[in-house]
């Protein structure tokens, strides 16, 4: 079993927490929590098989969050002494006191069992920070060189993060956790008489270690071998004819549509208006819980921070809540939201489902996304069978451009590639395509979802939310799925050409 790194455990975790929590209590806080966090992030970027940039960053600090007079107070610090931690706690109380006159809603938290002292480590084999940078660069350069045989330029990047968190609160929960995630991506670009285009790998980012690049978990060689040919075919492909099409959407594309149109729309803080000035609200408002027809009856969506290798997966969230799986959409009906402790209590939902997260020791936890996933149909069809049910349509693979409105209604997505479907079979690529729809119309048009063998856990490292801005990693699993009559745009015509 993997262990938390000794150098993290050697930090004065308990001493700092004890000093901070005691000072907060002494100053009258009704609740206080302490979070010490270390986030190690390494990024490598290669261009045409040569190292272009490398950054190896390590962020270490701690935060104290208090409730005083029914108002939040938050402060973050850097100096690892009990005296400094106590001073940061005093600052947090001061922030609450300064802010209290303009707070009109007393802060209370949903109850959560006290978990005592617990530890949790994610599932990975090789800590990427133990692999020499030279070795990683050599692998990426080798892969890039292969792609360059069929492309004008090749970009490669590798992002690796190790996140260590220590949390303690005045109720008595103390958690120590460590997780690792990794995202390799290569992009090939080529010019032709019609202009230029590019194509990226569709390998998803994962909550795994460096073994993801080497142990055969993902077929890198197969994908890299196919990419130049697919790119050449795309460059020579006809421009799509705008109109309504049946779509079979591959998990490598559909995960992002799920993220934008379901994941964000079912965050309770958005539904309640807390993101209204920034990322926006949600059409899936709270009074529709249990009645809103989100999509067709084959639509079943869960939130889950426990799934193995998920990017949002963790044992306990940043409020000391044990994570779990929960229903969001069942048989097409909205049945649940993603919650933190405050909002769970405000709306009478009992307890939080563990979706509080802060991306750094300098930020206050906010409600962030669980791994929100569309369930496959047990014994459901293969991707080929879904394609076989389409007379005139497109099969869309890989994510690319994405945009959705601030209530999560109107969206527009492109992809890495789209293949025409004619009479149940693939008939070559088209280019210049985007699909545009309204969320409930789109999910209502979902006629069938694929079986478990089509299911892939996709995701992203960098979902943005909140002010000050925070980024969060999150996975979305889904099968291939069939949608009827979705609007396809020709992006060249959209540009007035």
């Amino acid at each position: 079993m993997r262990q938390i790194d000794p150098d993290f455990l050697a930090l004065p975790l308990r001493q700092l927490a004890d000093a901070a929590l005691q000072r907060a209590r002494d100053l009258g806080a009704s609740h206080a929590d302490f979070r010490l966090e270390r986030v190690r992030a390494e990024s490598l970027a290669l261009y045409d098989a040569r190292l272009e940039g490398a950054a190896d960053a390590d962020d270490l600090g701690y935060a104290v969050r208090v409730i005083k007079n029914g108002t939040w107070g938050f402060a973050a610090g850097l100096v690892l002494t009990p005296e400094a931690a106590a001073e940061v706690a005093a600052q947090a109380v001061k922030v609450a006191e300064v802010s209290a006159p303009i707070n009109r809603e007393p802060i209370e938290l949903a109850p959560e069992p006290v978990h005592g002292e617990v530890t949790w480590v994610s599932a990975y084999e090789i800590d990427p920070f133990t692999v020499p940078q030279k070795e990683k660069v050599a692998l990426l350069a080798d892969w890039s060189a292969g792609l360059l045989k069929g492309a004008d330029h090749v970009s490669a990047r590798l992002l690796q993060v190790k996140e260590q968190k220590f949390y303690a609160d005045t109720a008595g929960t103390v958690t120590t956790q460590q997780r690792v995630r990794i995202h390799p991506e290569l992009n090939a670009m080529k010019a032709a008489s019609a202009g230029f285009d590019d194509m990226s790998t569709i390998a998803p980012p994962v909550g795994r270690g460096y073994e993801y690049l080497t142990d055969g978990t993902y077929d890198w060689q197969g994908e890299l071998a196919r990419l130049p040919e697919l790119l050449a075919e795309k460059l020579a492909a006809p421009s799509v004819e705008a109109g309504d099409y049946d779509l079979v959407i591959d998990p490598s594309n559909l995960w992002l549509t799920i993220h934008e149109s379901i994941g964000h729309a079912t965050e309770l803080d958005r539904a309640l208006g807390y993101e209204a000035a920034y990322a926006g609200t949600s059409f899936a408002t709270f009074e529709q819980l249990g009645t809103l027809v989100y999509g067709s009856p084959v639509m079943n969506v869960t939130g889950d921070r426990t799934v193995e290798h998920g990017l949002s997966t963790i044992g306990y969230d940043d409020e000391g809540v044990a994570t779990r799986e929960f229903d969001i959409v069942k048989d097409g009906i909205l049945v649940g939201y993603q919650l933190d402790r405050r909002m769970a209590l405000m709306q009478g939902l009992g307890s939080s489902n563990g979706c509080a997260f802060a991306d750094s020791p300098g930020h206050m936890p906010i409600q962030r996304m669980a791994n929100v996933s569309l369930k496959p149909a047990p014994g459901g069809p293969s991707t080929e069978a879904l394609i076989g049910d389409v007379e005139r349509g497109l099969y869309i693979v890989g994510d690319k451009s994405w945009s959705i409105d601030m209530q999560r209604y109107n969206f527009q997505f492109t992809g890495q590639r789209a293949f025409r479907i004619e009479n149940g079979a693939l008939a070559g690529q088209v280019r210049d395509f985007a699909y545009q729809a309204t969320t409930t119309d789109f999910w209502g048009s979902m006629e069938a979802v694929g079986g478990p063998e089509t299911y892939v856990l996709g995701g992203a490292f960098n979902c943005g939310k909140g002010q000050p801005g925070q980024v969060a990693p999150v996975s979305h699993g889904c099968p291939s799925a069939l949608f009827r009559g979705v609007r396809i745009l020709n992006t060249v015509q959209e540009g007035g050409k």
């Binding site: 190292l51 272009e52 190896d56 390590d58 850097l78 922030v95 660069v137 590019d198 926006g280 206050m364």
Partner: protein
């Protein structure tokens, strides 16, 4: 810290960057505070150079006893590295900042000493007026120190403040937004901002549904800023030279020198521009396609990106400038657009509009096609129909598909420029002076039901 790190390095050359940051913020929704906080940050970046190899290591909260390990890690990475393509001699002979050794003075929650009570009073006024206020106030102060083994000792203290204020009707059906950039919040009149939003919510009481299509459209400075920032971010010379951007010349080279607009539009940056002052030298924590660690400390000067409608410069490192044969024009942290003499105010442009749309701001802007820099995104928090010189009501929101480069060529009017806060990109970019513009045929691709 910088001096000690430079002493410890055993590399051929070394650049050390220290970023000392502090921030204070207030966030509110529904006329009440939601979250708030203060935080400090301290980041050390050591860039070691051995031959043409570069090693970069960045660490937060480094204690003095940890410094040798961080520098050694950067030195080791440089020894292991392949030769960097952008390797150039480090910058020398630019002098030292006079405040190099002065202490860093952090911001604190006290920066809102006058603003917070005014905000509380505005909540009360909004409540009485049937409005709900949402928004965010943030003040950050970042002190950046850049030192090098070639004698560089440069420092820049950058205050950055912003307020976003969003008013909604009690039923949340009508919404209006405004935002301001500030250096210290002393110049923010939150009551006046709330008043302007109240007027827009009144306009919105008359609701008009319009279909998708191409409309004459007035874009206010905030919306123009969001489009021009994206264009600037997409103007790397290296990408243009490699034939992979909208600024690539068919057959090779860049489009520098090509006319983009028939109007005398100028898009520029200037570190000393009044009210939007920014760092006067290059700070590069890592090399990328648009920046080079070897350029750290390079002086920045007023730069025209588009001059009198003609593409004048692209983002250049010294390396890309050598490849392109064009001047070295690195990225600068502010952006100014002007349309020549005598531009009208937005109000005057409204009064001169027979029939058209007036936008408030744009949102969720993403690239659809890099060849044309076709962007998609949405209107937000107020689209108004103007007829016979007056706003007659609020229109539904739209998704747009447009290219800012193409728009420059289709502008029919550029108004008077003023300082503004971009809506979407203000997490990253706050220092802009922009005009309102008139576009005769803005592509509203589909209707958005969101409000």
């Amino acid at each position: 810290m910088v001096e000690r790190a430079l002493e410890l390095s055993r590399a051929d050359d070394c650049v050390v960057i220290v970023d000392e940051g502090s921030t204070a913020n207030l966030r509110f929704a529904g006329n009440t505070l939601t979250t708030n906080g203060v935080a400090r940050s301290a980041q050390l970046t050591v860039i070691s150079i051995v031959g043409a190899g570069v090693g970069v290591v960045s660490r937060a909260s480094v204690r003095p006893e940890q410094l040798p390990e961080v520098v050694a890690a950067a030195d080791a990475a440089a020894r292991d590295a392949q030769p960097a393509e952008d390797a150039r001699p480090l910058v020398e002979g630019v002098g030292s900042s006079v405040n190099w050794t002065e202490p860093v003075l952090p911001t604190s929650i006290g920066v809102f000493g006058d603003f917070a009570p005014a905000l509380g009073e505005t909540f009360t006024a909004a409540e009485a007026g049937g409005r709900k206020l949402y928004g965010f106030a943030e003040h950050t102060l970042t002190s950046t120190f850049v030192g090098s083994s070639r004698g560089l000792r440069l420092r820049h203290d950058q205050p950055t403040g912003r307020l976003e204020l969003n008013a909604k009707s009690a039923d949340l059906k009508r919404s209006a937004w405004t935002g301001v950039a500030t250096r210290d919040f002393s110049d923010v009149d939150v009551a006046a901002l709330d008043s302007s939003l109240a007027q827009r919510l009144e306009w919105a009481k008359n609701r008009i549904d319009l279909p998708a299509g191409r409309y004459e459209t007035l874009l206010p400075p905030s919306a123009v800023a969001d489009l021009m920032i994206y264009m600037m971010w997409s103007s790397g010379a290296r990408d243009a030279l490699d034939g992979r951007s909208v600024f690539s010349k068919p057959g090779g080279g860049t489009r520098v020198g090509e006319r983009l607009s028939e109007l005398p539009v100028t898009l520029s940056s200037d570190p000393s521009a009044a009210g939007i002052e920014c760092a006067p030298f290059v700070t590069a924590h890592a090399s990328s396609r648009r920046s080079s660690v070897f350029d750290n400390g390079l002086p920045l000067a007023a730069t025209d990106w588009v001059k009198d409608g003609t593409l004048a410069a692209l983002l250049q490192t010294r390396h890309s400038a050598e490849l392109s044969g064009l001047p070295v024009t690195p990225s600068i942290d502010n952006l100014i657009m002007r349309g020549g003499e005598g531009g009208r105010s937005l109000e005057e442009m409204i009064a001169a509009t027979e029939r058209g749309l007036l936008l408030t701001c744009l949102w969720y802007i993403r690239e659809v096609d890099p060849q044309t820099l076709l962007l998609t995104g949405l209107t937000r928090d107020g689209v108004y129909l103007v007829e016979h010189g007056e706003v007659i009501g609020e229109v539904n929101n739209f998704r747009f598909n447009e290219s800012p480069v193409d728009l420059l060529g289709r502008l029919s009017e550029v108004g008077a420029s003023r300082q503004t806060l971009p809506r979407e990109w203000n997490d990253y970019f706050t220092r802009t002076i922009m005009p309102p513009v008139r576009v005769p045929d803005f592509n509203m691709s589909t209707v958005s039901q969101a409000n």
